[in-house]
Symmetry: C2
C-alpha cells in the first residue's frame, strides 16, 4: 500500500484491497491457531480451535477462487487491524496463569477475531453484489457462514461451563 | 499491563482488565469520530457519525458507572486491537480520492469498529453475569444495544444508496 498516494480510485479497487486485507488476515489466523490449540485446556475448546484451523484453510482456498473469478492475483496487504487483534490476544494470554481463566480469555480473543472476519466478509459480500459479482458473493457467504457458526459455538462453550469453571 | 508478569489471576481480574480495554477503546473512538464526520460526504452518513459521537460519550459515562459499581478506579489499558482497527481505517481513508468510494470505505471502517465493540461488550456481559454482577451487565447491555443499532444503521446506509453511488 502506498500511504502517500491515492491508490484506490474505484469501488472495484476498494473491493480488491479489502479482499487482500482478509486474505492476509486469514493467513495470520492460520499461524495463530496452533498456539491457541496448545494453550486451551478444556477439550471441547481445544478441539474447536483445531477444527477451526481446518475451516480457515478452506477459507483461504475459497478466497483464492474469488481472486481467480475476479481476475486478480491472490495476495495479501498489511492489515493492522488483525495484527492488533492477534497481538492483544497474545498479550492477554501471556498474563493469565490459571488454566480455567485462560480458557475464558482465549474464547474472548477468538471471538474478537471472528467478529473482525464477520464485518469484513459482510462488507465484501455487499460490495461484490454491487459490482455484479454474485459468483464472488456466494463464495464469500460460505466463509461468513462459517465465521458466524464458529462465534456461536464459542459463546455456547463459554456459557455451557468454561466461564463457570473460571469464576 | 506487565507483559512479563502474570497479572490476571482470577475471572474478576480478567473482567476488570477487559473493562479497561473497552474504556480505552471508547476514548480512542471519541478521538477518531470527528475526523470521520469531516471526511464523510453523504449527509446521512455525516449525521450518523455525529450522533454516534454523542452515543460514544454516553458509553464512556456508563462504563464509569460500571467501574464505580464494581469498586474499581476507571482507567484504560492499552488496546492494540482498537489501535490497529483505527490505524487501518485511517490508512484506507488516506488512499481513496473519490468521495463516493470514500463514503463506502468509511462505512466499512466504522463497522469494523462496531464489531470490535460488540464482541467485547458481549464477553463482558457474560462475565459480569457469571460474577453475579447483574447491575454491571445491565449497563453494558445498553452499550451493546447502541453498537448493534449503529452497525445496522451503517449497513442500511450502505445498501440504501452509498454503495450504489460508489460503484
Amino acid at each position: 500500500m502506498g500511504l502517500f498516494s491515492k491508490d484506490i480510485k474505484t469501488m472495484n479497487d476498494l473491493f480488491v484491497h479489502t479482499l487482500k486485507d482478509i486474505y492476509y488476515a486469514e493467513h495470520q489466523i492460520v499461524k495463530s491457531l496452533p498456539d491457541m490449540v496448545k494453550k486451551a485446556t478444556d477439550s471441547s475448546l481445544k478441539q474447536g480451535f483445531q477444527s477451526h484451523l481446518g475451516e480457515t484453510k478452506n477459507h483461504i482456498a475459497r478466497l483464492e477462487q474469488v481472486f481467480k473469478l475476479h481476475g486478480v492475483k491472490a495476495e495479501g496487504v498489511n492489515c493492522p487491524a488483525i495484527d492488533g487483534i492477534l497481538e492483544e490476544a497474545d498479550e492477554i494470554a501471556g498474563e493469565v496463569e490459571d488454566k480455567a481463566v485462560l480458557d475464558a480469555a482465549l474464547i474472548a480473543a477468538a471471538q474478537a477475531v471472528e467478529h473482525y472476519e464477520m464485518t469484513r466478509y459482510g462488507t465484501l459480500i455487499a460490495w461484490a453484489r454491487q459490482l455484479g459479482r454474485a459468483d464472488c458473493a456466494s463464495l464469500l457467504e460460505q466463509n461468513l457462514k462459517d465465521e458466524k457458526a464458529a462465534d456461536t459455538k464459542l459463546s455456547s462453550l463459554a456459557e455451557r461451563g468454561i466461564n463457570a469453571k473460571a469464576a
